[in-house]
Amino acid sequence: MRPLTEVETKTFFEKLAKYIGRNITHLIDRGDETYCFRLHRDRVYYVSESVMRKATSIGRDQLISLGICFGKFTKTGKFRMHVTCLDYIAQYAKHKVWIKPNGEMPFLYGNHVVKAHIGRVTEDTPEHQGVIIYSMTDIPLGFGVTARSTSDTRKMEPTAIVVFHQADIGEYLRQEDTLF
């Protein structure tokens, strides 16, 4: 467990900013308690200072996880967000997409979101923007990247992909082995 280096922080924030933009500030500078990002075995954990201090007593080999995992650095040095951070990024997301009940399961099985399944979209979402995907009952289901801007979407066919799948909560079941 160690703090992120400057390069790592930059890569990480760049990815995170795609979804929550400047709201990262609220993660770094919280009113209630000091929180920090810590890297442990390539994974970035977001954890309160007090928990982190206690976790330093755990050996490196024995420490499995602490706080909330935001994602991991790949071997090539890119950052890959995991669905586990959904709670936080859903809280601060700028652009959201709601999908209809009939689109929930296809998305939870790892498919892209097609236009027909879209219930609502945040106005003025540009293309290639990170978005959080909600069910119509406001349960966050995952996140993705828009294929087209909101205005372009109107002209598209119902079967056209609107949001590319990035992560969904179905991964808790599908990828339990690789995710953690």
């Binding site: 467990m1 160690r2 703090p3 280096t5 400057e6 922080t9 930059k10 924030f13 760049e14 900013a17 933009g21 400047r22 990262i24 500030t25 770094i28 500078d29 000091t34 920090c36 990002f37 810590r38 200072e49 982190m52 201090r53 330093t56 700028k94 003025d124 540009p126």
Partner: protein
């Protein structure tokens, strides 16, 4: 004529050559023209009149030294009378460290193990046939009777058409080459040995020659790395080449896990400012603004 009075008077003019009052006899190293007076200094006299006391002390000791010198055996020639100085007994410290002992060559090691000593061979050997001393090798050497090589018997079983002279020359060349090779090997090993642990070398351990290549490689790599970093930017802006050498054994330094959190926070904020833009990229949603102004028109 009695000159004793004159001499006495003359004597009175100078101090006596015999020096009294030395409790501990003065030591001499005449080879270095040195005398060591180990008697304690008379503090009272020193305090009373420093210069006078020191001068008298010096004179007395110099007198003693000269007395000793005059005791030595002398020779006289054109330049005058000279005293024969003995070998100096005082050891002086060496300015430079002793040279390291050269690592043994393979032969030296072998000979040592087998108890083979060096045997001095005389340059001249007695020739039984000629009845006189002849050099062992070289011009008019003992074996060179001028008739030696005019004919060579073809050894049994060898090709009769083979040039035996050439074969001999080749054999000699081979011997020389082989020796040269060994010589070089000894030099290599010696070079490695100088980098080895000195104790091991002193014990007579041969360097591990499998290691020699590794050591050379390491040396080369370090030189390459140095040269790579020898650019105007100390290598910072040079593009990495795939498969290129990377400095080994240099540990990355990370910030401590638990440290000043305000500093960490500030660092993160500054990175965030760089990533997102200081004022926040979304103070004004440009597209929305354009749309709004358009619709107003």
């Amino acid at each position: 004529m009695d000159v004793s009075g004159v001499l006495e008077a003359h004597k009175q003019k100078f101090k006596s050559v015999s020096v009294e009052g030395k409790v501990i006899p003065v030591e001499y190293d005449l080879g270095l023209l040195a005398a060591y007076d180990q008697n304690p200094v008379d503090e009272a006299a020193l305090k009373k009149n420093k210069d006078e006391y020191l001068q008298s002390l010096c004179r007395d000791n110099a007198q003693l030294l000269f007395n000793e010198i005059f005791q030595l055996q002398t020779i006289s020639d054109d330049n005058g009378v000279m005293a024969m100085l003995p070998v100096p007994t005082t050891l002086l410290p060496r300015e430079k460290p002793l040279p390291k002992p050269k690592p043994e060559t393979r032969w030296e090691k072998f000979a040592k193990a087998k108890g083979i000593g060096k045997r001095k061979k005389d340059r001249m050997v007695y020739g039984d046939a000629s009845g006189e001393y002849k050099p062992r090798w070289g011009y008019k050497a003992i074996n060179d009777d001028g008739t030696k090589d005019w004919i060579i018997e073809v050894p049994a079983g060898s090709n009769p058409m083979e040039d035996q002279y050439e074969a001999r020359r080749d054999a000699k060349k081979e011997r020389i080459d082989k020796n040269e090779k060994r010589h070089r090997r000894n030099l290599d090993e010696a070079a490695v040995a100088t980098k080895m642990d000195q104790k091991a070398v002193d014990k007579g351990d041969r360097p591990d020659m499998d290691n020699v290549r590794g050591m050379k490689r390491k040396e080369l790599e370090s030189q390459i790395l140095i040269s790579k970093g020898s650019t105007a930017s100390a290598g910072k802006f040079d593009n990495a080449i795939k498969g290129d050498l990377k400095p080994k054994g240099i540990k990355r330094q990370f910030a401590p896990t638990v440290a000043d959190f305000s500093k960490e926070k500030a660092g993160n904020m500054s990175i965030l400012d760089r990533v997102v833009g200081k004022n926040g990229e979304d103070l004004v949603n440009v597209r929305k603004a354009i749309k709004a102004t358009k619709s107003r028109r």
